[in-house]
Symmetry: C2
Subunit: 231 residues, 2 copies
Amino acid sequence: MSTKDRKQALMAHLKAEVLTCGLPAGADLDEAALSNAFDLSRTPVREVLRDLEAQGYVALRENRGAAVADLSPAKLRDFFLAAPMIYAAILRLAARNATAKQIIALEDAQEAFRAALRKGSAADKALTNVRFHEVTGEMAGNAYLLPSFGRLLIDHARIGVTFYQPRSETMVSNLATASDQHDQIIAAIRDADEERAAELAIAHWDLSRGVMEIFVMPDGLQGSLGQTTSA
Amino acid sequence: MSTKDRKQALMAHLKAEVLTCGLPAGADLDEAALSNAFDLSRTPVREVLRDLEAQGYVALRENRGAAVADLSPAKLRDFFLAAPMIYAAILRLAARNATAKQIIALEDAQEAFRAALRKGSAADKALTNVRFHEVTGEMAGNAYLLPSFGRLLIDHARIGVTFYQPRSETMVSNLATASDQHDQIIAAIRDADEERAAELAIAHWDLSRGVMEIFVMPDGLQGSLGQTTSA
DNA sequence: GCTTCCCAAATTGTATACAACATGTATTCA
DNA sequence: TGAATACATGTTGTATACAATTTGGGAAGC
């Protein structure tokens, strides 16, 4: 296994851990630990961390190492503002530009997502969902939109981790709806129907927004004031 | 002068050179040369180059060093597609969120731009113009839009270098119009008039588009077919 | 004369040693 | 007892040495 492979393995590992909140927002990353865990010297490890910072996965603090990018309320607000516009633009361009090979890749991604829904872990669901949207980004292929889209996908996945651990009937049905929307998105792209693709982007994102609202504003706990027992 | 300062100097130098096309698109960057020019070892130089890649200034090719990011026709097309949407969103958010201090910074940037128009070099004009728009980006302050906006600004500056070396009456008048639009943008932001700010974004960008069309499709050369003398 | 292959030189990528900085602890003095 | 400072420890940033890969030129073969 060459150093290049180990470097890519480190990259993939950290990406997956961040996306699935295996490494929660704000978690410190130790260069030395990563070095010997992946059998690399600190130099390439630091390069990987810089790359991940560029893509929005981690934050580097001067003389104080790397940490998983945080998700402050202010950042969530930014997310809600930017996501619909960017996503609609991405799907519109995807419908305009997708190649036959890319459409097959999208169908494959959707198949993997469905498989994860049936029998995968929460992490599998989050990662396969991200993969589906990444393919739409590749279809759009706009060098100026992709950096923003990538960052949206990262935090979309992290917020949605709750989504993929369905605790309520509503969430189970939301997951099924999301999968259906993926199918409709594929159809719109195959038909090169830009308007429909843009509409579906908004709809798909509205669904996620509902989930996120549950995440931010969960149902109040049962019980009277003064009760302090847990379970 | 500490190493940190020299590192920042290298960063600033390369950014300015790329923005003003002192280093043209595609130009190779030599790590070793930069190292002893700025009295740094190759390690921090490489880190700077990676940062610049993340921001869209340069491209790193596997085992073949860094080069100034190119400006292919395909990328220009991406630019024309994404710029109006992103820029309108940025100015809309700027009008919504700008603080008093930021408005002063924007006025200062505009003053510097005007000064450059009067008696600055083409590079000064390009850099002060970029600075003006960077301030609007800071005002918008949206973590998801800024990466895209930054890349647009880089290539906007590079395409516009021709713009800031006015060779024709049309271009001189365009420059004056651009400056006027900056003033109107400041006013819209000060009034927190989002709609007006978004309109001005489109108008300001349409002006630039005209310049770029001249850039891409200049007037045909005079002279008959078969002439081969130059000057 | 042209192509192909191989080697040398240069450049990029990695490892390690060293320097600078930050953090936590213990000791000392008020 | 409390606070402040000095020091020890660990972590980050930089320099340099080394390995691997690319590139250009020259010699050999067709």
